[in-house]
């Protein structure tokens, strides 16, 4: 509801008709809110009753929702999650850079660059195709097996590398789609101003492309955030690994549920940020209007 002071700027007295329209819209708004609240409550009730009345509910509750086990495992799982967060931050930056570079390499013009283009294309094809879990095993156990000097053997570093390689391939394709979504007339306009191919990409095409692909990129970030948990298969002691350990100690599955809840809590702000960025991008493009 906008402040009356702002409306006052236009034409001080608002007509009877407009006041009626506003109060009607407000009442519709209130009704929608009520409908939403009631339907949510009904839906939640059905869900709770449906689950708790299942024949195996008692046993499931004991092994998955044991408060004592939850309390015991919370701190260890949290400390594991800290590793996930750090891996996520490093991986996100590396994925962004790798994806962008590969996408740009694929746009290079001229025969000299043919091998580079080919290599970039091969990279995206291969690493989008290999299942992440398989790649984790290959890099996590295969690379240390080479016993090369100076090559890291830390499972965290190797696991992060595998994740970056896979996600880099996905993100490269997202960037490439973004670069191609910029209308050709934009390139024409830039070249017509005398900008070189490179300047055109850097100053005109890339900024529009990045803006267009921000929502799908944030979506990939949310996916990345839970996939960093996979480094636990290499023995890195992250949240999932801690949950596994605690689960063995308590002979109960509750620590996994604790880990799941923590991952969700981490994902929610990211998902909201993605929604917000999408909405903002849309608002910017179609300024104003009811549609």
């Amino acid at each position: 509801m906008s402040a009356p002071a702002r409306e006052g700027v236009v034409v001080p007295p608002v007509s009877e008709v407009e006041r009626g329209r506003r109060s009607y819209r407000r009442s519709r708004q209130r009704r929608s809110t009520w409908v939403a609240v009631v339907s949510t409550l009904v839906f939640a009730a059905v869900l709770v009753v449906g689950t708790t009345s299942a024949p195996g509910w008692e046993r499931t509750q004991q092994s998955f929702l044991d408060p004592a086990a939850a309390q015991r495992s919370l701190l260890p799982v949290l400390s594991g999650l800290w590793l996930n967060v750090r891996v996520l931050l490093v991986a996100a930056v590396c994925v962004f850079a790798l994806g962008l570079v590969v996408a740009l390499l694929r746009t290079l013009r001229g025969p000299v660059w043919a091998p580079v283009r080919l290599l970039a294309a091969a990279y995206t094809d291969v690493f989008r195709g290999v299942p992440l879990l398989v790649l984790l095993y290959i890099i996590g156990f295969g690379v240390p097996g080479l016993r090369l000097q100076g090559v890291p053997t830390d499972p965290v570093v190797l696991g992060t590398t595998a994740i970056v390689l896979t996600y880099g391939a996905y993100v490269a394709e997202v960037f490439r789609a973004g670069l191609e979504s910029v209308h050709p007339s934009q390139r024409a306009a830039a070249r017509a101003l005398g900008l070189t191919h490179r300047q055109t990409v850097r100053l005109v095409v890339l900024p529009q492309a990045v803006r267009n692909v921000t929502p799908p990129l944030l979506n990939d970030l949310v996916a990345l955030q839970k996939d960093v948990g996979l480094i636990s298969v290499l023995g890195a002691v992250d949240a999932i690994r801690q949950a596994q350990i605690q689960s063995a100690v308590t002979a109960n599955f509750t620590p996994y549920v604790v880990a799941a809840v923590l991952f969700v809590l981490l994902a929610v702000p990211m998902a909201r940020l993605a929604d917000w960025a999408t909405a903002r991008a849309r608002r910017r493009q179609q300024a104003g209007g009811l549609l």
């Binding site: 236009v10 034409v11 008709v17 407009e18 329209r21 819209r25 104003g288 209007g289 009811l290 549609l291």
Partner: protein, 253 residues
């Protein structure tokens, strides 16, 4: 709609619209009678497009009312889609759908909104295209058309649903001078066919010869309206005189 209760197709009263703190329309009153061509003239930024967008319910008005055939369409209880179905709009930038052929652009609304079957919709579309000499380009895509062809296609697309009222927003200002003629000829033909038209234009020559009423919009207010021979030749208001002097100086009258 003849007889005692004769009412205008479009009636606008005290229309107010602002973007943020900037008032764009400050109480506009306007009638468009059936089979009439009403043109809106005025400087760039005077609110012509905004007025048309408010009439087509693409913007929510801040105050005032708009009636279409006697129905208050600014009432929030009114189904805005049903109102828009009775109004045809042509935008300055054509806004043809680039992924559809000329024929599909024209038949989209008749088929999907008005439930006309494909064969009939295409037959009517071809007849319309034939009239504007574009029957041979029915399978072409919008990017393959000249500006004039694209704009004539956009006009035909708006007409294909047989609207009660046609809104035209500077349909020629994106065109080469030599293409302006073919589009205006089509508008004139449509007007002579009895269509009720409200159009924003910078083509004073066209307004003079084809319009029944000319409205001069300035600073969000309709300063002056009347038959073209009065508003364009002997304007009463000083601002109108100024505006027309500038137009004449620019060689557009």
């Amino acid at each position: 709609m003849t007889g005692v209760g004769e009412q205008p197709v479009l009636r606008v009263r005290n229309l107010v619209k602002s973007y943020g703190d900037a008032p764009v329309l400050r109480g506009v009153d306007l009638d468009v009678d059936e089979h009439r061509v009403v043109t809106l003239i005025g400087a760039s930024g005077s609110g012509k497009s905004t007025l048309l967008r408010c009439v087509d319910l693409l913007e929510q008005v801040d105050d005032g009312q708009v009636w279409l055939d006697g129905q208050d369409v600014t009432d929030p209880r009114v189904d805005a889609d049903a109102v828009r179905r009775r109004i045809g709009v042509v935008f300055q930038a054509y806004n043809l759908f680039p992924h559809l052929s000329v024929l599909d652009n024209i038949t989209l609304a008749p088929r999907r909104v008005h439930g006309v079957d494909r064969a009939e919709a295409e037959e009517r579309a071809m007849a319309l295209l034939d009239r504007i000499g574009l029957a041979g380009r029915a399978r072409a895509y919008p990017d393959q058309l000249s500006g004039g062809q694209a704009q004539r296609t956009a006009i035909v697309r708006a007409l294909a649903v047989q609207p009660r009222l046609l809104l035209l927003d500077e349909v020629t200002s994106a065109l080469d001078p030599e293409l302006v003629g073919e589009v205006l000829a089509l508008v004139r033909e449509v007007a002579e066919g009895g269509m009720t038209i409200l159009m924003a234009t910078h083509e004073m020559g066209f307004a003079r010869s084809a319009a029944d009423v000319v409205c001069f919009l300035e600073g969000g207010v309709l300063l002056e309206q009347g038959p073209p021979e009065q508003v364009l030749v002997d304007p009463q208001h000083e601002r109108t005189q100024q505006f027309l002097r500038r137009v004449v100086a620019a060689g557009r009258l």
